[in-house]
């Protein structure tokens, strides 16, 4: 099953030797994160707000890119795992001495367990049935939470402890993104990526060469859901309250999908570029949220039609053309 849109052939851009290419992320990314962490104290309150949103969005987008872009599993169920992580943290943190990190990890684990539970059923569905199935799952979970009194019903739950200061929240978000980046880099730069993309491109042919598609898809699904759950947990910590509409609502799914498709799905830099673009857009149109969303939808349609590999793909194509368009 190929990715969301079929790709035009990307000419091979001459690069450094393979070993240099593989080492590159391991060398530069840690430095990047250290620099970012050091610059956090320099940000204003407004800057911290934006930074948190951006970092969380990139984390979610990285997870979705792994699943949909690299794995070909177009899921509309992001909200389910996000919400599960959020509620888990809210339930677990009852005392100021409780470890936030552990609560976040717990959120990820709960999300992963749900993924495991539905995997057998959901992976039997191919293509559009998979997509609609994940959407139905997210919506069903939301409705369940609305009705289930045990977890607060429609009004939700309040966090028992005070959320940390803004600066700490941003460091936590940065830490989560670093972890997510590590996971996704491992998944996309190692041989697992080859197996995953093989399953994406042609599941039957992958079967024929000894790959067991179910296992590969499951690993990607578990990784993505864990990261999404942890992000949800962090968001719950920030807002201090969870309720079905805000945490299990489709707006998270829409945001993530738009970020990745506009940024460039299946490309390493897609999520980051897309997130920056969309956060900038939402700040520009902060007064008009409905207009901003409508515009996002329009850009989404435009990208699918005119630049299927997103902004990053567009830049790559321009660069390749500049270098003489080798084939």
């Amino acid at each position: 099953m190929s990715a969301i849109v079929s790709r035009a052939p990307v000419p091979a851009v001459p690069t450094a030797s393979p070993s240099a290419q593989r080492l590159w992320p391991w060398a530069t990314l840690p430095v990047l994160f250290i620099v970012l962490a050091a610059s956090v104290p320099l940000l204003s309150d407004y800057g911290l707000e934006i930074a948190f949103r951006l970092l969380l969005l990139i984390t979610l987008a990285e997870a979705w890119n792994l699943l949909a872009g690299y794995g070909g599993l177009v899921s509309l169920g992001t909200a389910s795992f996000f919400g599960l992580g959020a509620y888990t943290l809210t339930k677990l943190l009852s005392d100021p001495s409780d470890s936030i990190i552990l609560a976040m990890l717990a959120g990820g684990v709960v999300a992963a367990l749900m993924a495991l539970l539905v995997s057998r059923a959901v992976f039997r569905l191919r293509g559009l049935y998979f997509t609609v199935g994940t959407l139905a799952l997210a919506e069903a979970l939301r409705l369940f939470m609305v009705n289930y009194r045990g977890l607060g019903g429609a009004s939700g739950l309040f966090l028992a402890v005070d959320p940390p200061a803004q600066r700490e929240m941003v460091w936590l978000a940065l830490g989560l993104l670093a972890f997510a980046t590590l996971v996704v880099t491992l998944a996309t730069a190692t041989r697992f990526s080859i197996l995953l993309r093989a399953v994406r491109d042609d599941e039957d042919a992958a079967n024929q060469i000894g790959i067991r598609p179910f296992r590969i898809k499951l690993i990607a699904f578990l990784l993505a859901s864990t990261l999404t759950g942890m992000a949800g947990a962090l968001q719950a910590l920030k807002v201090g309250t969870v309720e079905p509409y805000g945490t299990f609502g489709i707006q998270w799914t829409v945001a993530v999908l738009s970020v990745v498709i506009i940024g460039g799905q299946g490309l390493r830099l897609g999520p980051a570029v897309g997130a920056v673009f969309l956060v900038a857009l939402s700040e520009l149109l902060a007064e008009y949220p409905a207009l901003q969303l409508a515009l996002t939808g329009a850009i989404l349609i435009g990208v699918i039609r005119l630049a299927p590999l997103g902004l990053v793909g567009l830049v790559q194509r321009l660069l390749a053309r500049k270098k003489g368009g080798t084939r």
Partner: protein
């Protein structure tokens, strides 16, 4: 525990409601069956019909039921260019691209509604809508009965259109083998456009009925999308009578669930049934429909 009356009323309203659900799902079913298009904006077309009828009533005083053909035509006229400009150019790019494009359309429409009509809950008020009718031991709202009747008429009409007319032949041929149909002289692109327009019209008309029986907001579409999908999957993609049977069954099950568990669980039960249907359907049937 439950008196006969309560159960009987539940069954009756469930069945009637189910008929209306079948109409709302019809458009989705034929789009999927003929064009392999997952119209993720289907719910928004439904809500568009509801808003249109609402304002038609407010501004001109035309009764929503009488105004059904107008609403249907209006949505068909809007849907046709949408298909020709946004969907048709993507015809050779697989199934996900058009699906995501419709997702984009749904985002745009939802927010347009928000901007134009605010988030207020609305309902189309007619004097007869809430009137209770007593049919034997059973009491139902008049609108349910009217809605059911209209839905059945429309479903039968579409069925006749598809099975007896030359357009229907072209539609079925295009869905079975678009390449061969073109070689036989069928203008497949035009057939797809008309099919999409027909689907949108059905969705809009279903939306008017739903808007008269229940209330709606800019975001109500999402739930209707999934319930419609449940009906489509249960009834068989492109199978019109199957859609009717599935709609009635689902309506009935939802109604009984609401009676037993509480009204809030109505939609949840619908979704759970959908998920079960997806999970239990033999691999072969699902795989055969998917390219």
């Amino acid at each position: 525990m439950w008196s006969f009356d309560v159960v009987a009323n539940s069954v009756a309203s469930g069945v009637l409601l189910g008929g209306m659900l079948a109409l709302t799902a019809l458009g989705l079913s034929i789009s999927l069956g003929v064009m392999r298009l997952v119209n993720l904006a289907h719910g928004e077309f439904l809500v568009a019909g509801a808003y249109l009828a609402y304002y038609l009533l407010q501004v001109t005083g035309i009764d929503p039921i009488l105004g059904l053909p107008l609403v249907g035509l209006a949505l068909a006229a809007l849907a046709w260019p949408l298909q020709q400009w946004l969907i048709a150019p993507l015809s050779n790019k697989g199934m996900e691209a058009p699906m995501m494009t419709m997702f984009g359309v749904s985002i745009i429409l939802q927010n347009l509604y928000l901007l134009m009509f605010t988030a207020d809950t609305r309902a189309i008020d007619t004097p007869y809508a809430a009137r209770a009718l007593h049919v034997g031991p059973v009491t139902v709202s008049a609108i349910y009965l009217i809605g059911f009747a209209i839905s059945c008429v429309l479903l039968v009409s579409v069925h006749l259109l598809v099975s007896r007319t030359s357009f229907g032949r072209e539609l079925r041929a295009s869905s079975a083998d678009p390449v061969a149909a073109a070689a036989m002289g069928v203008d497949v692109k035009r057939v797809h456009g008309l099919t999409f327009a027909l689907g949108a019209a059905c969705a809009a008309m279903g939306g008017v009925l739903m808007g008269t029986a229940f209330s709606f907001t800019p975001t109500t579409g999402a739930t209707y999308l999934l319930i419609s999908f449940a009906v489509v999957v249960l009834g068989g993609v492109g199978n019109i009578f199957g859609t009717l049977v599935a709609g009635i069954s689902l309506g009935l099950l939802q109604s009984l669930a609401a009676m037993v568990l509480g009204d809030g669980y109505r939609d949840l039960v619908g979704l759970v049934i959908f998920l079960l249907a997806l999970a239990l359907r033999p691999q072969g049937i699902v795989a055969a429909k998917v390219r």
